[in-house]
């Protein structure tokens, strides 16, 4: 297991370096940060001074080496716009995104799992058809539309929830629901099909034949193996959401890291963009690593193969 983990970790570091280098080169090809940063009124001499103050006048190779050295020291440079170190600036925004992701996944599992079980246990029933209908709806409503719709009902019409801003849990309800809707549908369908498949297995028939109550058959014998794909997908969704809440954060004006990254991208604030890529990539790698470990724990065959 230790050798397996070490190999994974090494591969992860190489991936991280490749991602950072690629992004570094790509953003330097997208435009000139001074053109966005400097007011139009600034003369060429003043612009040159500003570029020098930010280290943007050096050749790309030198900037790259300086950047790599900075990464090793955990210092990704000073944000051009705030004048503060970019990494702490970004890290301050991570908790908001994490809270949003955790809450929406919790909602999605809490609703999607029981719905999926119900749909599998009573297939082709009215409940099953409704769940399937709802899941199509949930999978096809775009985030921005749903978000705006929620705001207009719950903030403007009924005045129940705040339309925007970070703060207490109450600010996270609408954005989390917005993100959860698609996942509820997704998890429901996943659990339904996995459970249906398991329920047709011979060992389930055996369990039924020996006279076990149907509840025990479903919840104890069938659901556990059937929830394995859910664990996989949960991890994937976590990673995807962690870097994919940008629309939701923008609509609900949540101070999350994805909104900050988008702004940095518009402004070509290189240090912030690269900090973001580093954090997001590290998170993805960590999740993948955890999934690998989790598989090993759940399924001995994976451990042996490694």
């Amino acid at each position: 297991m230790a050798a397996f983990l070490l190999r994974r970790l090494l591969r992860a570091l190489v991936t991280l370096w490749a991602v950072l280098t690629l992004v570094f080169l790509l953003i330097h090809a997208t435009g000139n940060p001074i053109a966005v940063l400097a007011p139009q009124q600034m003369t060429l001499a003043e612009r040159a001074r500003l570029a020098a103050a930010l280290g943007l006048n050096q050749p790309l190779s030198e900037q790259y080496l300086r950047f790599l050295a900075g990464v090793l020291h955990g210092n990704l440079g000073i944000s051009y716009y705030s004048g503060m170190p970019a990494m702490p600036l970004l890290l301050a925004r991570v908790p908001v995104t994490l809270e949003l992701v955790a809450l929406s996944l919790a909602i999605a599992v809490a609703i999607g799992l029981p719905l999926g079980v119900a749909a599998a246990v009573w297939p082709a029933s009215l409940a099953d058809r409704m769940v399937r209908g709802l899941s199509v709806l949930g999978a096809s409503v775009p985030t921005f539309f749903l978000g705006i719709l929620l705001i207009f009902f719950f903030s403007v019409e009924f005045n129940l929830l705040p339309a925007s801003g970070g703060g207490g849990l109450v600010h996270f309800i609408m954005p989390a629901v917005t993100l959860a809707l698609f996942r509820i549908a997704f998890f429901t369908r996943l659990v339904r099909s996995a459970l249906l498949e398991t329920l047709s297995m011979p060992y389930v028939r055996t369990a039924r034949a020996k006279g076990l109550a149907e509840r025990m058959v479903v919840l104890k014998h069938a659901l556990r193996p059937a929830s394995l794909p859910l664990v996989t997908v949960f991890g994937l969704q976590f990673g995807q959401l962690f870097a994919g809440t940008v629309i939701t954060e923008t609509i609900f004006a949540l101070p999350g890291m994805n909104r900050m990254a988008l702004q940095a991208l518009y402004r070509l604030d290189y240090p912030v963009i690269l900090s973001y890529i580093l954090v997001a990539a590290a998170m993805f790698i960590a999740i993948n690593l955890m999934m690998d470990i989790l598989y090993g724990l759940i399924d001995p065959r994976v451990r042996r193969a490694a």
Binding site: Q41, A52, L54, S82, G83, I148, A163, S164, G166
Partner: protein, 522 residues
């Protein structure tokens, strides 16, 4: 005994109920838990007042910091930290400073603080306000509250420039360092800093030692709500009291809401077309080898005649834009109310094109941004369509600002659509209209390569003229020449728009700055 405790319970209960009812009735701004909230599209990126020249950042900072003068909505400098100013000689301005002004840490503001703030604005390598102090050579303190600022060359509009220079606690910055100061800004303004998150929100509280009138709202929160629909929802649900940049398509909703009203004023940003007037052939937006039609003034005039600006105003901006008759917007001193816009007239445009040999039109590219100005790519599309009506085939190239500006700066265009917002006619002239002269620092934004030595001479004279009326007359003459030459075609002035809750009085400023300390209760 039993009866008394019951009575006491009832009293406590009643008091609690009154308290709860009271807190529910408290108006926004009265307490830290129920602040007065202003929603912006963006947020301040820094609270260091010279590091970023951008409207929202300035708006947030200028609740905490005073500038030395402040511009009236008509663009006239008015007293703030300086109560009076006088030019002693062409290269000397004398400023009389307000007495008894304190920084929010309790320290008395000294003339040295003001002088050093001017020098800091000029010398700090990351300062984005250098242009306002570039000509300053130094200062000396005369007496207890007078400052004489000296210049390397005459600057008659320095009192306007002073409206851009913030007063900073220079002795404190020298002691504590710039980063500490930016994290906990201290100024002389009506509000003091409580807490913030860059690009997201800023919490403020009135400062008890402020030298001027106390603001109407004690607890203030400035917020960034990037999405227009959310900003509107927050306003209509009472979550925020003022929301800037309401979408034109939402005007009717605000008006019908019964909860808020709109404040719309023409802004200082002129949206214009820039035309290549220097390359007879080989203009970058034309087919290779093609003649550049814009060398001929008749074609430039035809463009101005062919664009229906009132239609753009009504259909795209729902009325919230002002048709421009000249490059200078109302609110800057060279604005000439006598000038009338070039009327929209397709027939005249066709005639002009035919006379110039383009009866069957030509094909060209129009470059524009898609992420910089209000509805920029939509307006560019509309212009393309309107020019199509007079047989000019336009390929609209709407791109992100980070690519657009470097591209047009190096001359890769035939016609571009962009905006300009200046503080005074002289620096605007020197940047956009002056014959290009990199060495002397002239014409660095003159992308069209427009050149009128006669107009330049008039402006050179204006920039030495301290008599306001005479200077303005000279400026108007120069701008009239440029307006006739049409290297740049002004189209409209962007409007500043805010939705304001019914109980609050606020009128937008042409410069787009939002001063919470100027807002009052109805």
């Amino acid at each position: 005994m039993f009866g008394r405790s019951k009575l006491r319970g009832a009293l406590i209960g009643a008091t609690l109920m009154v308290l709860i009812a009271g807190s529910a009735r408290a108006a926004p701004g009265d307490s830290a838990t129920q602040p007065f909230v202003v929603a912006f599209k963006g947020g301040a990126t820094t609270l260091d007042p010279i590091m970023r020249s951008e409207t929202t950042t300035n708006s947030w900072q200028r609740q905490i910091f005073d500038t030395i003068t402040v511009l009236s909505p008509a663009g006239v400098p008015e007293p703030r930290i300086a109560t009076a100013w006088k030019s002693l000689s062409p290269t000397e301005w004398q400023l009389t400073l307000r007495q008894g002004v304190h920084f929010q840490n309790g320290a008395l503001m000294t003339p040295e603080d003001v002088g050093a703030s001017i020098m800091d604005t000029k010398n700090n390598p990351k300062s984005q306000y250098r242009e306002y102090a570039n000509d300053v050579s130094g200062y000396k303190v005369v007496g207890g509250h007078t400052l004489v600022v000296t210049f390397t060359r005459p600057n008659p509009v320095f009192p306007i420039y002073l409206s851009q220079i913030p007063v900073m606690p220079e002795t404190l910055i020298a002691k504590e360092g710039r980063a500490t100061f930016a994290n906990h800004p201290i100024g002389t303004g009506p509000y003091r800093f409580v807490s913030w998150l860059a690009d997201d929100h800023l919490v403020l509280k009135t400062w008890s030692g402020f030298w001027g009138t106390k603001p109407a709202f004690r607890h203030v929160r400035l917020e960034s709500i990037p999405e227009a629909a959310t900003r509107l929802a927050a306003l209509l649900s009472g979550q925020v009291q003022v929301a800037e940049k309401i979408d034109p398509s939402d005007f009717a909703r605000v008006r019908a809401s019964g909860r808020a009203y709109l404040s719309i004023v023409p802004g200082l940003r002129t949206m214009y077309l820039g035309l290549d007037v220097w390359r007879p052939t080989g203009s970058a937006g034309m087919a290779p080898g093609e003649k550049n039609p814009f060398m001929d003034r008749r074609v430039r005039k035809a463009i101005a005649e062919a664009i229906n600006v009132p239609l753009i105003r009504d259909k795209i901006f729902n009325g919230a834009a002002a048709v421009a008759a000249q490059f200078t917007p109302p609110g800057l001193e060279a604005y000439d109310p006598a000038l009338k816009p070039i009327p929209y007239n397709q027939a005249v445009a066709r005639k002009l094109l035919a006379a110039a040999g383009y009866a069957h039109g030509f094909t060209m590219r129009l470059d524009a941004t898609n992420d910089r100005y209000l509805e920029d790519s939509l307006v560019a599309q509309a212009i393309g369509g309107m020019l199509g009506n007079v047989s000019i085939t336009v390929k609209v190239n709407a791109i992100p600002k980070a690519i657009f500006f470097p591209q047009i700066d190096k001359g890769d265009f035939t016609m571009y659509f962009a905006g300009w917002s200046g503080t005074d006619p002289i620096s605007t002239w020197n940047a956009i209209f002056h014959c290009r002269d990199a060495k002397a620092g002239f014409g660095h934004v003159n992308r069209a390569h427009y050149c009128s030595p006669k107009a330049d001479a008039l402006m050179a004279k204006a920039s030495q003229t301290f008599d306001d009326a005479k200077r303005i007359a000279l400026e108007r003459q120069a701008y009239a020449i440029a307006a006739h030459d049409l290297a740049y075609i002004p189209l409209y002035y962007q409007a500043e728009v805010a939705g304001v809750a019914n109980g609050v009085v606020w009128k937008e400023r042409p410069d787009g700055l939002i001063f919470v300390w100027q807002m009052t209760r109805k």
